[in-house]
Point group: C2
Chain length 695, copies 2
């Protein structure tokens, strides 16, 4: 693949229009709690958050370790998140008699609240600046030395932080502003999280994939959990009491959540790599797998149930990737990026001292991308799951690598295997979630077919994996022969470490062992020759921007707590105004009786008793991204007025830039939650627990 | 979607490297027989074709009307093409006892040669220049008026040409050099084409999808047909005798075939539309369908057989589209395009007379693309088959539209419905090819799911198609209720015309009728507001180029006869030399016993008797593209030395430009064909018929 079109070098003669990458007048930003956009809030909304308000919001917020946001909504440890964030637990609790994912989960008393096996909730306890310490450790290092030093210092800091009580404390070193600031986040970890209530899937995900990322919308995408300590509901000091009325159009609202990642500071060259290589590769792979699972689901009711969570995940990711295509092809956006980079470059080059300090990070980055183009496909196939799909191989790979890593001093390990993360890995291996052999064979055979297709039948890696077998034969042999579906077998291998792994003749372990050297090799190339130099390049750019602009902006998302602000507001689509609210009445109009527009029986029965004017879902200008799922929507008084569960289709471009004209967050209205709990699910107690404390 | 990055306007300051879009020194070009690259052939290969040689090659060549190339290879009407070009016939001749597609088709005498129901072979009879006549008819017309005038004049010319004997003559107006030359192609049509011999699928497509578009290769992708007249093998005056030895490395070879289409003159703005919109959309859709059919095939042996031809087509198209991605992202290529366009623009603008004559075709084209961006997805969904898949709906749509079109005077019809094309359409409807209800339901349900996903559940078009049904329900209802699987029912509706269509309560016809106004509307927008202005823009650019350069180059491919030249030669891949030939020995080394690397029994049995040093497949620098499948490889003496069946992966970029460094055509060696016929298939008679006449 050839080089990169140098827009940047052409900037001098461009008329760049009026798009700004960061417009302080917009409702833009995922702000850290210690650097809120006070000026914008005062100017646009005449609101100034007090220290008390900030603390209340901070402490009432939480995240699910596996990748969602949440909030405390009662003094008794009640937690609100999305149904789609509790999917895995609902599946795991289900058995041949109960399909909680499909039918919902209901409890009449705390005694019925069952533990979610693999779930962990984190509540932020403190943030400490460790920029100086990290920078001292990394000074003058490059490539592998840089990666290792980074791992070592992070590990040391995290270990010191968690101390001897890694069961209670989770510590993470987080790089903000691409290394401009490095902070240690210390979380209180709750590992006893129980299921309190989840509605049926038809209500939670009404409209299914067709409506996902769209609006108008009629979803009750909620789930309630409770954290326990010492076998009892945990008492929490901060929580968000429910406003049973919900927000008004135009009202200022906040979301406090953990946006996973954004790439708003991404250099142009990386955007082009995404457009030309990454996005086509990933959408292609996901589309094909989506087709496989779509057909798999049609084969029987059990296949349908087995695959549904996976399909949800894939279709969701697909929309995310497809949603990025228009932005990556948008010349106005790209030109604004050119402008921003050129200005920064000129600012550096205007001063020999700055040149010396920052160097030419763009050149360094371009070199890293050239390596990435070479190794991207084999890396995705062998080191990520693209070429070896399914849970069973993932278990095998985890066991093989973890055994090896755990032998090393903590500081020398890959970050996922630091002592601080071992409890989570062990919990994953101990999961009693069912493994479906037919689904495993299907995913594995298909991914092996892709591997051969993408890397070529003659490639060394294809030969290593397949030898003389066909994908179908190998998948049957591996899934048929492995014992890794049994959590006890996995835990024994985990506990047995390198010896047990080396002695194992489990075919899945044997394969994972065989490809481990190549997979590791690719991983090291990616870490040392791509990620390390491009991270260093980003850091140099970020530092230069800092030196020029100060803390005027917010850092890219890092799955740490952020506050977004905005107002409840619709947008214009092809000249048509999309109003900000939907109502219960619209749900019944949209219901066709056919999946995914089918109502469950409780909703059919409740029709006559519901207040049809109750607002259901709403959109707001809040700047959110994946990871914000489950974030509360909060009013200026610190009450919960809604529950984020999605963004509209335009918000997907928010990965790269926020466009206030049409990027919208989608939330369930607090009024809908209360009305549905009372009338549809007849759970007055839960409704009461939610509104208790509301002024 | 925002506008187009104006590389063109930036050209002034670019250092453009050395890529030329058309390099007269390369083995480039798909030349018309009346404008062969005489200078290049003399300079590079010291060869000057005689008039006799040209006529011999022209008359020995043929095409299959449905989209492949072929050649006459004996005086008794024997025709050579690819196995994959005879797929459909092999499927159609198969029944519950015979799977000719899988197992091969063998005959001991002409009496056993069965008719291929839907196959038509065309032999070029004459070419007449009609440029002046067409230009006179189109003068001063735009949009709908232009489209209509064009249709009318083409129809008139074709009608005059075929005269009263449309069964014998097929006439087509072809626009060469994007309208720089317009020519009438008159073909002798052979509609009695019979199957003589086809090997088993394992031999024809050894390596399957993983090896497709790759090399080294070991495929015997051949089929032999025979044209009949009045029930007897047709006598032909020109044919290519087989050279039983095959070509040598470095030897000059020609391919005479019918490349389907190339886009080497495509403006930059169109390339960007392809990169940003079309290619992502199509690969996404095909990947997903490929996944569906992959899983469908695993469900049973019959499902596997039902879907295999469809899967081959989709995977082939997928590779073609994926193969375009690197070229569309190649900045060197794009910059060379900028250079070429800028030079032409400057040439026009240097002279007020030229400005008046050619106008600003780039501006016109950009406007057309803006419309295309608006209607592309609905057009693909409703008017093309993306949203309504399967054969049954295609039949319904054809019947509904044809009934309406046939009422109009020939000159006012859409081009597919001119009188000249009606016999082919009727043959399609009369096809006894089996329709598989499960496969139909699957494809239809899936495409309807895509339609709702792509256009949105709330869109007018989705509502029109689905109303309150789910995709699954509607597909079941339509496929379950329609009688269109029966050719007699289809022919009755065809013969009954508008009355029969209006009276039909066949659910598939009812749906096709219901969406016809919207589908037509999209078609007219595409024809009048996109294709007409962009065609006019291309014509203006082509005329300007003509006026400046004359006939120095070849026209873009148009599925008409072209000659390519080149030499038998490997290439370098990641620094590794790929040799030009494979040998029988390599086939046996590659065979793993597992599909698609499995040998059929005849090959297993023949192993001890074959000359393992026989060359199998080879690559050459000949410039080919889809449509060239089945082209003979011809030496300077007019003998057949091979059979084109593929290009390597790099040749896929050949849609946009030819790169001699790594674009390669892939052919079966004539020596392999003779050896396999004699030793594996024990068909000495056919081998003798092929080499007869070889000097």
């Amino acid at each position: 693949m050839a080089g990169i079109v140098k827009y940047a070098s052409l900037f001098g003669i461009l008329a760049c229009g009026s798009v700004m990458l960061s417009d302080a007048r917009a409702d833009e930003g995922m702000w850290t709690m210690d650097n809120l956009p006070v000026r914008q809030l005062a100017e646009r909304y005449n609101f100034t958050p007090t220290q008390k308000w900030i603390e209340h919001v901070t402490k009432s917020s939480a995240r699910l370790a596996l990748g969602c946001s949440a909030s405390f909504v009662s003094a008794d440890g009640l937690v609100m998140t999305n149904h789609h964030c509790a999917n895995t637990c609902l599946q795991q609790l289900s058995d041949s008699k109960h399909n909680y994912f499909q039918d919902g989960y209901y409890t009449a008393s705390p005694a019925q609240e069952q533990n979610c096996p693999a779930m962990e909730l984190n509540q932020l306890d403190s943030i400490t600046d460790v920029t100086d310490r990290m920078q001292a450790a990394l000074k003058g290092k490059d490539g592998e030395a840089y990666t290792k030093a980074r791992q070592a210092e992070e590990s040391a800091i995290e270990k010191e932080c968690a101390g001897t009580d890694a069961k209670t404390w989770r510590c993470e070193v987080v790089s903000l502003y691409h290394g401009g600031r490095i902070a240690l986040y210390k979380y209180h970890r709750y590992q006893d999280v129980r299921m309190v209530m989840a509605p049926d899937q038809n209500a939670a995900f009404f409209g299914g994939d067709p409506d996902n990322f769209n609006f108008p919308r009629y979803d009750l995408d909620m789930a309630f959990l409770r954290v326990y300590e010492n076998g009892k509901p945990a008492k929490v000091s901060s929580y968000l009491p429910f406003d049973p009325v919900g927000p008004a159009a135009g009202q200022l609202v906040f979301t406090s959540g953990n946006p996973g990642s954004t790439e708003r500071e991404l250099p142009l060259a990386d955007l082009e790599f995404r457009r030309n290589v990454m996005v086509p590769f990933v959408t292609d792979a996901y589309s094909a797998l989506d087709g496989v699972l779509w057909q798999y689901s049609r084969e029987s009711a059990s296949h349908r149930q087995e695959a549904q969570e996976r399909i949800f995940g894939i279709e969701n990711s697909l929309k995310v990737f497809r949603g990025r295509v228009p932005v990556l092809a948008d010349s106005k956006f790209l030109m604004a990026k050119v402008k921003s980079e050129t200005e920064l470059k000129n600012w550096i080059n205007a001063d020999p001292e700055r040149q010396k300090l920052y160097g030419d990070p763009w050149a360094k980055n371009t070199q890293a991308i050239a390596v990435e183009e070479q190794i991207f496909k084999p890396y995705m196939m062998l080191e990520r799951s693209s070429g070896l799909g399914g849970d069973l191989f993932a278990y095998a790979k985890l066991l093989v690598r973890a055994a090896d890593e755990r032998q090393k001093p903590d500081a020398s390990r890959l970050s996922a295997y630091h002592d601080a993360n071992l409890p989570a890995l062990e919990a994953e291996l101990a999961s009693v979630a069912p493994v479906y052999p037919e689904l495993e064979k299907t995913e594995l055979a298909f991914s092996l077919t892709r591997l051969r297709q993408v890397l070529g039948a003659d490639s060394k890696l294809t030969q290593l994996v397949l030898a003389k077998s066909s994908p179908e034969e190998l998948a049957n042999e591996l899934v048929g022969g492995t014992k890794l579906a049994d959590p006890a077998v996995r835990l024994a291998l985990w506990k047995g470490g390198v010896k047990a792994i080396a002695a194992s003749d489990d075919p899945m372990i044997v394969l994972a062992r065989k490809i481990e050297p190549e997979a590791r090799n690719l991983r090291h190339q990616m870490d040392d020759d791509v990620l390390a130099p491009s991270r260093q390049a980003s850091e140099a750019m970020a530092k230069a921007r800092f030196a020029r602009d100060g803390m005027a902006s917010y850092p890219d998302a890092t799955f740490t707590q952020r506050l977004s602000f905005g107002q409840v507001k619709g947008w214009n689509e092809d000249g048509r105004a999309i109003p900000p609210f939907t109502y219960f009445s619209g749900l019944y109009e949209r219901a066709t009786g056919a999946d995914p527009y089918k109502l469950s029986q409780p909703w059919v029965d409740a029709k006559a008793h519901l207040n049809m004017k109750t607002p259901f879902d709403f959109v707001s200008t809040n700047d959110i991204i994946g990871g914000n799922s489950g974030s509360p929507v909060i009013d200026t008084q610190g009450h919960a007025v809604g529950l984020i569960f999605d963004g509209n289709i335009h918000s997907l471009g928010g990965d790269f830039f926020y466009d206030e004209s049409n990027n919208r967050a989608v939330a369930v209205d607090s009024a809908a939650i209360i009305e549905a709990l009372k009338v549809v699910y007849k759970d007055q107690a839960l409704a009461d627990e939610l509104v208790k404390g509301h002024l």
